[in-house]
Amino acid sequence: MTVSQRQGPSRVDRAPQGDLAQVIDLILDKGLVIDVFVKVSLVGIELVTIDARIVVASVDTYLRFAEATNRLDLHQKGGKDLGQVVGGLTEGVTQGGAKGKTKGMIEAGKEKFDDLRDERRSRKEREA
């Protein structure tokens, strides 16, 4: 089975390695475990690994899907019924608080990532 030659640029992003969370998942959860092979000369080194995995509670997922339907309604109804659009917009504003709360956890996680990245970059710059 062969695939015919495609035209134009690829729509698939390519990267030599994943982002930090994916890297961590691989090297902490996968790979051959030394204890299986070495019994006598094993050296226990204290492991202080950062837990960069972001856990998303399912309720937050549900609420975000619900918000997505709301957002779509705004897109689709825009220009057709001014009253509804204005109503929708106000709703969007009042909903901001609740949205902030459900998204807070994930964004906090992402901010933490960005902090980590900045720190790494700045350290490299210092060394340079």
């Binding site: 089975m1 062969t2 695939v3 030659q5 495609r6 690829s10 729509r11 698939v12 992003d13 390519r14 990267a15 030599p16 390695q17 994943g18 930090l20 969370a21 994916q22 961590i24 691989l26 090297i27 902490l28 959860d29 996968k30 790979g31 051959l32 475990v33 030394i34 092979f37 070495v38 006598v40 000369s41 050296v43 226990g44 080194i45 204290e46 492991l47 202080v48 690994t49 950062i50 998303v56 309720v59 997922t61 549900y62 609420l63 899907f65 619900a66 918000e67 997505a68 339907t69 709301n70 779509l72 309604d73 897109h75 509804q84 109503g87 709703e91 009042t94 909903q95 609740a98 790494r120």
Partner: protein, 249 residues
């Protein structure tokens, strides 16, 4: 200062180390200890230094995956440390020589890729709304209402959508697998990490099929254009396809 030996990976004896690899934990250099048909990729590590900062994790990953791009690698999990180089030869490479040789043969010429897919959420939810009248009604009923008063309705709405998403995701995963499996030595689905994840698939690909495999991935990307954004990571070490050590070798 007392040092121990940190182990990154096991490779074939003939493997040359790429230059400029930075060791975990600030050691001097990454080196290879040869024994029989094998080599262990190692560096010195201070015994009193805790491990696991992101620099350590990144350093480990860089060493293993730089090697993986050039040769077949059996990656060790992060944090494997033994007393000294003698222990690497005697206990690791010596005692388990045949297993490692066999495992390297199993994976010879193969590289791991990980394919991530992410839904365009608006497109996804639109398609679900279009397909399910009950969800449309529920969505209409909460839209103009006070969000706090409709908290549980919104959860019910999201949950109903989520049921569809799970079904769509399973179908897409099956479809992607069907398309790519002919070009892979092995396929291992991984759990999708986030709510808009469409796909998370580890694939072991032989270098002879690499061009065809990449074309098949591109074709899938074309087919799913606007629906699922694909990201192909690799080649990385075959973390998801390591042959199990069975008993004592």
């Amino acid at each position: 200062m007392s040092t121990a030996t940190y182990i990154y990976a096991v490779v074939g004896a003939e493997v040359e180390l790429p230059e400029g690899l930075a060791p975990v934990g600030g050691g001097d250099e990454v080196a290879i200890i040869d024994h029989g048909r094998l080599g262990a990729v190692v560096s010195d590590l201070a015994r009193d230094r805790p491990l696991g900062g992101r620099d350590d994790l990144i350093a480990h990953e860089r060493v293993v995956n730089t090697l993986a791009r050039a040769t077949t690698v059996l990656p060790m999990r992060f944090g494997g440390v033994v007393e000294n180089d003698t222990a690497v030869v005697d206990e690791l490479l010596g005692h388990h020589h045949d297993y490692f040789v066999w495992a390297l043969e199993q994976l010879d010429g193969c590289r791991q890729f990980v394919l991530h897919g992410r839904y365009d959420q608006d497109e996804l939810v639109s398609s679900i709304l279009a397909a399910d009248a009950e969800i449309r009604e529920l969505s209409d009923s909460v839209r103009d209402a006070d969000p706090d008063a409709t908290y549980y309705e919104r959860i019910r709405l999201g949950e109903a959508i989520s049921v569809h998403v799970d079904r769509i995701r399973a179908a897409d995963a099956g479809f992607a697998r069907e398309r790519l499996e002919p070009f892979a030595v092995a396929v291992a689905p991984k759990d999708p990490a986030e709510e808009d994840s469409a796909l998370e698939l580890a694939l072991l690909v032989h270098r002879d099929r690499l061009a065809d495999f990449e074309q098949a991935v591109d074709a899938l990307g074309d087919e799913w254009d606007g629906r699922v954004r694909l990201r192909l990571i690799g080649p990385v070490a075959p973390y998801d396809f390591l042959p199990e050590p069975t008993g004592e070798s």
